[in-house]
C-alpha cells in the first residue's frame, strides 16, 4: 500500500509534465556496461553486417526451389545464417539514398477536388462532409457508474454513488460527475454534481474545468480545475482543486487500478484523499489532510459493461477533521463492507 500511495502522489503531481516530456522508464536493472563484450547475436546486428557483401540477387527464388533454401543462399557464414534476424536488416540503408523533398510544382496543377469536375461541386459537397465526419470527426456519449453500492457498517447502513460521463469528440468533451453518500433513514450526508469542460492535453490526460454544485450537507458552489487520466502502471487518476464561492480552497485526489485475476474477475484497489487549505467548520473540514479513504473491490465482469462487486472500504477523518467529527458525536474512522454494481454504457 505504501508504494501505492507513492505512485498516486507521483501520478497526480507529474501527469502534466509527463504529457510534454513523455515518461521515462526507471532502469529495471543496474545499467549495463556501456561496451558489453561482443556476442554472436551482436555480430549479426545490422550495423556490423556488411550489406555490400550480401548478394541479394541470389535471394530470388525460382519456381523449383524451396524457399527454405533462400536464406542459406545469402552470403552469410553458416553460423550467422542461424542467428540473423531479418527484421533487423535495414534494407533501406542499402539502397541509394533518395532525398526527401516537396512535390514538384506540377503536383498542384489539377483542380482542388478532382471529383467536382466530373460530378459537380454541389453533388459532392454532402458526401465530402459526411466523409470528414465519419473518418475521425465523430462524437460519443459515455456514462459510467464506477461505484453504486450498499454499505454495511456499524450503526446505520448506508449507500454511495459515484458516476460520471462525457459527451464529445477525442479532444473536447463535456464531462459530468456526481457523487454522494448517506445513511438510510437519515438526511443525505453529501451530494454533488460537477459540469466540466474537458480537453485532452496529452495521450493519457485530460484537463478539466467547470463548476461543482453541492446539495448536501449544504448548498455550495465551487469552481473546479482538475486533471483526469491514466498514469503509468495503469492507475486511473482524478485530481481536482475546488474554490468555493466563500473563498474556501479544497482538493481531492482519487486513484484506482484494475488488477485482473482472471479475464473477468478484477480486484480494484482504490484510494482517495481530501485536502483543505483552511478550516471549514460548518462542513466539518479541517485544514491540511482532511479525509483518507482506502478501498478494495472485487468485481466480476459478466460483461465489460456490467459487473457486480463486493468490497471493503476504510474511511478516516484526519487531524482537525477528526476533532470536528468527535465533537459531533461521530466516529472519525468507519469501516464499510460494500456490495454494488459497476456499469457503463
Amino acid at each position: 500500500m505504501k508504494s501505492l500511495f507513492a505512485l498516486l502522489l507521483i501520478g497526480t503531481a507529474a501527469p502534466s509534465l509527463a504529457q510534454h516530456a513523455g515518461h521515462t522508464m526507471p532502469a529495471p536493472a543496474p545499467a549495463p556496461a556501456p561496451t558489453p563484450a561482443p556476442t554472436a547475436e551482436q555480430s549479426a546486428r545490422p550495423d556490423t553486417m556488411d550489406h555490400l557483401q550480401m548478394d541479394h540477387s541470389q535471394m530470388e527464388t525460382d519456381a523449383q526451389q524451396t524457399p527454405i533454401a533462400d536464406h542459406a543462399q545469402m552470403n552469410h557464414s553458416p553460423a550467422q545464417a542461424e542467428t540473423v534476424d531479418h527484421s533487423q536488416m535495414d534494407h533501406d540503408a542499402m539502397a541509394m539514398p533518395i532525398p526527401a523533398g516537396t512535390p514538384p510544382p506540377s503536383a498542384g496543377s489539377g483542380p482542388p477536388r478532382a471529383a467536382d469536375a466530373i460530378w459537380g461541386a454541389a453533388a459532392m459537397r454532402p458526401s465530402r462532409e459526411q466523409l470528414r465526419e465519419e473518418q475521425g470527426g465523430q462524437t460519443f456519449f459515455w456514462f459510467m457508474a464506477d461505484r453504486s453500492e450498499y454499505r454495511l457498517r456499524e450503526g446505520k447502513d448506508g449507500y454511495l454513488w459515484d458516476v460520471q460521463g462525457y459527451y464529445g469528440g477525442d479532444i473536447n468533451k463535456f464531462w459530468f460527475k456526481s457523487e454522494g453518500e448517506g445513511s438510510f433513514g437519515e438526511e443525505i450526508e453529501g451530494a454533488e454534481v460537477q459540469a466540466l469542460y474537458s480537453r485532452a492535453i496529452g495521450p493519457w490526460f485530460d484537463l478539466q474545468a467547470g463548476v461543482r454544485q453541492d446539495f448536501a450537507p449544504r448548498d455550495r458552489t465551487y469552481a473546479v480545475l482538475g486533471i483526469q487520466g491514466l498514469a503509468p502502471y495503469q492507475f486511473e487518476i482524478d485530481a481536482a482543486a475546488f474554490l468555493s464561492t466563500k473563498g474556501d480552497l479544497t482538493a481531492r485526489i482519487e486513484g484506482e487500478v484494475d488488477q485482473r485475476i482472471t479475464q473477468r474477475l478484477i480486484l480494484q484497489p482504490r484510494a482517495e484523499f481530501n485536502l483543505s487549505a483552511q478550516n471549514v467548520p460548518e462542513l466539518g473540514i479541517g485544514s491540511g489532510l482532511d479525509t483518507v479513504e482506502l478501498g478494495l473491490r472485487l468485481r466480476y465482469e459478466f460483461a465489460r459493461e456490467f459487473a457486480p462487486y463486493i468490497g471493503v472500504e476504510q474511511e478516516w477523518k484526519v487531524g482537525r477533521s477528526a476533532d470536528y467529527a468527535r465533537a459531533n458525536g461521530e466516529d472519525p474512522s468507519v469501516t464499510n463492507y460494500v456490495v454494488g454494481i459497476r456499469f457503463w454504457f
Partner: protein, 615 residues
C-alpha cells in the same frame, strides 16, 4: 497438369445449390433487398459479362445460430463473385435499396478515379433507390481482387465480395481447379456499437489479457514494464473472436465449406482477406502451399507452410492435396478464433481441425526497438532470456542501427539512458503533429519486411515474408524515385485514435497528399504504434522495396507495416485524380487513419520517360 482451369466456386455441403453461373438471369428473390422472406444466404453466386447488375439490400442473417442484421449484395454474404476478362470493358450497374447511401469500391482495380467508388472522394455515393453505373473501360489487369462498400461501416455488415479477372491469354498459373476463399467475420453486434465499445472500453474485445493467473511467458519485470507504459502486450487485434465468428466464403467454421479435388490435382486457391478488422494466419497442416500471386499480381512461386494475410490483401496459392481431405485453417492473428474450409476428395470428407495455438505477445521489435533485440526477434519477452535486464542499451536506437532516423549528431541527447522513452517526439519530422493522438514513437523503426507477422517468428516451419515476393514479370518503370516521403502511422490505443502523421482525416481533409503526374516517389511508412496496419492506396499498384531486384519488386495495392517498424514502396503516380489512402482496418479508418492522394492530371505534366522493359 496442363488442363484448362476448371472453375468451381464454393460449396457448403449440400447447401451449394445454385452456384452455377447466375448472371443476368438471377431471380429477383436472389438479388437482395428485403424481398426474399428468408435470411440472407451464405456464399456467393457468380456474375459476369459486359453488363453486370448488383443490388445492395439488407436483412436478417444467421451464422451458426447467431443472428444479426446484415447488408448483402444480390442476397448473399459474400456478394457474388464478379468475374471479369482482361481487355474487355464492363458496365456494373449497382442499385441501392438501403435507406442510407451506399457504394462499391473495386479494391485493387485500375479504374478511372470517378468510378473508384469512395463517397466524398471520387463520387457522391449511391443514394437510396438509385442505380449507379460504373462504366469501366477495358480491364488492364488480371488476378484476384475484391469489392466492398466504402460507405459508413457497411463492409462489416457483409457488403463485400470477390473479383476474379481472367487473363486474355494463357494463365501462367496452371491449375486443375480454381477456388476463391474469401475470409471475413460475422458479428451480431451493430458496427456502430463496435466502434462505440472501441472508443470507450480499452481492450473491450480482448479476453486474452495478462492476468494474475495467465500462462504467458512474461516475467514480473516484463509485466511491470508493460503496465508502466500503459499498454498491453496482448493488444494484437482490436476486435476479436469474443464477438466475431470467422467466415470462409460466408460460412462459419462449423458450417463445412468444402472445396472438392481429385487426388493428384493442382488446386489454386485465391485467398482474399475481406474482413473488417482481422489478420489471418493461413495454413494447411500437412501440405505445402506455393504462393503464386500477391494482391492479384503474379509472383515467382514460393513454397511456404504458412502465411499471414493482412486485411484487404489477397494471395493465390497452388496446393496438391493428398489423402482424403485436408483442412485449410485461417487462424485470426490473436488466435481467438479461426475460419475453416476443407479440401475434400469426396463430399463430406474431413480432416482434423487443429486447435487454436497459444495467443502471441507483442515484442521489443513491436515497440519499435528492433535494434535492442538479441537476435530472436522476441528478446526480452519470451522469458528465456531474462527479459529487459538483459537488454543491450548500447544498441538502443543509436546511430549505427539506423542512420536514417537517428542522426549521429545526437545519439544520446534525445534519449534517457535511465530507461526507455517510449514517446520521444524529437525523433519525428516537423510534419508530424504531436498531440493526444500520438501515444508512442518508435525508437528504432527498422524495415520489417522480412518479418512474417505477429506471432509467426518462432514457428518451426517456413512462413511467407514480403522479402520472399519477387514479381514474375518485369516492372515497367525502373526510374530511381526522385524524392522520398515519409508518412508516420500514428495512434493512441487508450483513446482509440488513429491517424497519419498525428492528424486525423477530419482535420486535414482539405490538404491531400499531392503527386505530380508520372512522378516516381519512394514512400516510407513508419509505424509509430504497436499494431500492424494494412495500408491501402486506391487506384494504383506500388512496388515493395523488399530487396528484390529493381525490376522485380513485387507490386501490391496494400502493404502491412509491422508494429514499431517501417516499410517502403516505390510509386509511379500515373493514375490522375483523387484517391483514398488509408488503413484497411475498418475502425482505424473510421477513427481517422485516412487521407486523400491527389495525382495531377496528365495534361499539365511534362513528359517523363520511363525506364522499363515495357517502356
Amino acid at each position: 497438369m496442363l488442363t484448362m482451369n476448371r472453375r468451381g466456386l464454393l460449396g457448403a455441403g449440400a447447401g451449394a445449390a445454385g452456384l452455377a453461373g447466375l448472371t443476368a438471369l438471377t431471380p429477383a428473390w436472389a438479388r437482395g433487398a428485403n424481398i426474399h422472406n428468408g435470411v440472407i444466404r451464405s456464399g456467393s453466386d457468380e456474375v459476369s459479362g459486359s453488363s453486370i447488375d448488383l443490388t445492395i439490400g439488407e436483412g436478417p442473417r444467421v451464422v451458426q445460430g447467431r443472428r444479426g442484421h446484415a447488408i448483402a449484395v444480390n442476397g448473399s454474404v459474400p456478394g457474388p463473385l464478379v468475374r471479369l476478362k482482361e481487355g474487355e470493358p464492363v458496365r456494373l450497374n449497382v442499385t441501392n435499396t438501403l435507406s442510407q447511401d451506399s457504394s462499391i469500391h473495386w479494391h485493387g482495380l485500375l479504374v478511372p478515379f470517378q468510378f473508384d467508388g469512395v463517397p466524398g472522394v471520387s463520387f457522391p455515393g449511391i443514394k437510396p433507390g438509385e442505380t449507379f453505373t460504373y462504366d469501366l473501360p477495358a480491364i488492364r489487369q488480371t488476378g484476384t481482387y475484391w469489392w466492398h462498400s466504402h460507405s459508413d461501416l457497411q463492409e462489416q455488415a457483409g457488403h463485400y465480395g470477390p473479383i476474379v479477372i481472367d487473363p486474355a491469354g494463357a494463365d501462367p498459373v496452371q491449375a486443375d481447379r480454381d477456388y476463391v476463399l474469401l475470409l471475413s467475420e460475422f458479428t451480431p453486434m451493430h458496427p456502430h456499437a463496435i466502434m462505440d465499445k472501441l472508443k470507450k472500453g480499452e481492450g473491450y474485445f480482448n479476453y486474452q489479457k495478462t492476468t494474475w493467473t495467465d500462462d504467458y511467458p512474461l516475467s514480473g519485470e516484463d509485466r511491470r514494464m508493460w503496465a508502466q507504459m500503459r499498454m498491453m502486450p496482448t493488444d494484437i487485434l482490436d476486435v476479436t473472436g469474443s464477438t466475431y465468428t470467422y467466415l470462409a466464403n460466408g460460412h462459419g467454421p462449423l458450417e463445412g465449406l468444402e472445396f472438392l479435388f481429385n487426388p493428384g490435382e493442382r488446386v489454386r486457391i485465391r485467398v482474399i482477406n475481406g474482413s473488417a478488422m482481422s489478420f489471418f494466419n493461413v495454413r494447411i497442416p500437412g501440405a505445402r502451399m506455393q504462393i503464386v500471386a500477391a494482391d492479384g499480381q503474379n509472383v515467382r512461386p514460393v513454397a511456404v507452410e504458412e502465411f499471414q494475410i493482412g486485411t484487404a490483401e489477397t494471395y493465390d496459392f497452388v496446393v496438391e492435396p493428398t489423402g482424403e481431405a485436408m483442412t485449410i485453417v485461417a487462424e485470426s492473428m490473436d488466435r481467438s478464433g479461426m475460419a475453416v474450409a476443407t479440401l475434400a476428395s469426396r463430399p463430406g470428407a474431413r480432416a482434423a481441425v487443429p486447435a487454436l495455438r497459444d495467443p502471441p505477445l507483442l515484442t521489443m521489435a513491436d515497440m519499435g526497438m528492433s535494434g535492442m533485440d538479441h537476435g530472436g526477434g522476441m528478446a526480452g519477452m519470451d522469458g528465456s532470456d531474462d527479459s529487459i535486464s538483459g537488454m543491450d542499451h548500447s544498441a538502443m536506437g543509436h546511430a549505427p542501427a539506423n542512420p536514417a532516423t537517428t542522426s549521429a549528431a545526437e545519439p544520446m541527447g534525445a534519449m534517457d539512458m535511465g530507461g526507455m522513452n517510449m514517446r520521444d517526439t524529437s525523433m519525428l519530422s516537423p510534419d508530424v503533429a504531436v498531440g493526444p493522438g500520438l501515444d508512442m514513437v518508435a525508437m528504432n523503426p527498422v524495415d520489417r519486411m522480412g518479418d512474417p507477422g505477429i506471432g509467426l517468428d518462432k514457428v518451426p516451419h517456413k512462413v511467407l515474408t514480403y522479402r520472399d515476393l519477387v514479381a514474375l514479370e518485369p516492372n515497367d518503370d525502373l526510374r530511381t524515385p526522385s524524392r522520398q516521403m515519409e508518412i508516420h502511422l500514428t495512434g493512441n490505443m487508450e483513446r482509440f485514435m488513429w491517424s497519419f502523421d498525428g492528424k486525423k482525416f477530419s482535420s486535414v481533409s482539405d490538404e491531400p497528399i499531392r503527386f505530380a503526374y508520372n512522378e516516381r516517389v519512394r514512400v516510407k511508412l513508419v509505424n509509430d504504434t504497436m499494431m500492424a496496419h494494412p495500408i491501402h492506396l486506391h487506384g494504383h499498384f506500388f512496388e515493395l522495396v523488399n530487396g528484390a531486384p529493381a525490376d522485380r519488386q513485387p507490386q501490391k495495392h496494400t502493404v502491412i507495416v509491422q508494429p514499431g517498424g517501417s516499410a517502403s514502396f516505390d510509386l509511379t503516380a500515373d493514375e490522375s485524380g483523387d484517391w483514398a489512402f488509408h488503413c484497411h482496418l475498418l475502425y482505424h479508418m473510421h477513427a481517422g487513419m485516412f487521407q486523400i492522394v491527389t495525382v495531377a492530371p496528365k495534361g499539365d505534366a511534362p513528359e517523363q520517360e520511363r525506364v522499363g522493359e515495357h517502356g
